[in-house]
Symmetry: C2
């Protein structure tokens, strides 16, 4: 099994290795979540006629629900592997960065199968690129903070660049925090980076109302 | 001008976009540093017969030396842009992550030229992939710490995954720090990830003596 990072949205951000694996694979495994169906769009030119395997991967806070679905996914994948088939499991961005794929990856390894990770372009690198800015230079640290992190303010107070991942759902709360910490002026945002509906905000003043799940906020020191 | 991230070492980790830009470019700009000549190896199949432009980019701690060389590089690049030529400036990994390219990028933008960033696979994502581990799941933060950071211990004490970049030169010092902070058992390392001489260390016990400049140490919580 290959866990294939398909990048943030633009099919041109697939790597040559990802394309090769997609073309060689017998089965394309697709996480069955509304968000990650975007991944199918990215790879559609390379998987024509291939067998698709939808794997339940709910984004629930209920760990029991999540673990049960990982076990079901794992069983579905094992059935194909036992038939001697190669599987490319597609996942947005890079598989090692907040990807539910990795749970299945670990289960499949535990069962004694071979599983490899195929790196992808991360949404935060693509977002910095779209903003024409660096994420870190010389002796600067970089802190990546997920929306669910328990004490965002503690990390926002650190020196270096801070990236707030998938903070769109709670955008007004994040903006309030940034204002209180005097970081609002230093924040920029990219929504749906490299997708058809990409929006670039060089200042958060340009943001109005709700924001997409695929939002990346970058807070630089200078 | 395009700042093209060529990934960590394996030519198959180039994106389709990077290959397209390399093939379209009139001039390939190459940072004239020992480390980054690796970038030339990665792109060699796509730049045959193209004009090469070597740009001085010394890795010095003397800011004056560095800034002077950036200005010289910028002048060399501008000459080509003024002739109407497209330039692909190749840089290892991703251009937004610790790349000296960004200094030239900013100067070229300031002069009124157009410059775009083409994202690449980062060495830390590829390293986690080679180790078959995730960098961050669910509510975990990720901290990227450069070798030159002034207070590494402060960041190593944070919750979440810590990545020590390019720490090979001072490996014995880093190992000492990790031992003192009881993080040694949780650390793994990849040297020259995805290059011909890649080495994977699932434990730092396997490390003997010196290490390459291209070393990534990953410290996970669990």
């Amino acid at each position: 099994m290959y866990g294939v990072g398909v990048g943030p949205g633009d099919p041109k951000l697939l790597t040559l290795q990802a394309v090769e694996i997609l073309q060689l694979a017998d089965v394309i495994a697709v996480p069955d979540t509304s968000g990650e169906k975007t991944a199918m769009k990215i790879v559609k030119d390379y998987i024509e006629g291939k067998e698709l395997l939808y794997c339940p991967m709910p984004m629930s806070r209920d760990l029991e629900v999540v673990e049960k679905s990982h076990r079901i996914s794992c069983e579905l994948l094992e059935k194909e592997l036992d038939k001697g088939k190669n599987i490319a499991f597609i996942t947005l961005g890079d598989p090692t960065i907040y990807s539910t794929y990795m749970y299945v990856h670990r289960l499949i390894l535990q069962k004694g199968h071979t599983a490899r990770i195929v790196s992808g372009i991360t949404s935060f690198c693509a977002s910095a690129g779209a903003l024409n800015i660096s994420l870190c230079d010389r002796d600067e640290a970089l802190h990546i903070i997920p929306a669910a992190y328990e004490d965002t303010e503690e990390l926002l107070a650190l020196k270096g660049t801070k990236i707030l991942m998938k903070s769109g759902k709670n955008l007004s709360g994040v903006i309030e925090t940034l204002k209180r910490m005097k970081l609002y002026e230093k924040a920029q945002m990219v929504e749906c980076c490299s997708m058809e509906n990409e929006r670039i905000y060089e200042s958060l003043d340009q943001v109005s109302g709700e924001s997409s799940y695929f939002s990346i906020i970058i807070v630089k020191d200078k």
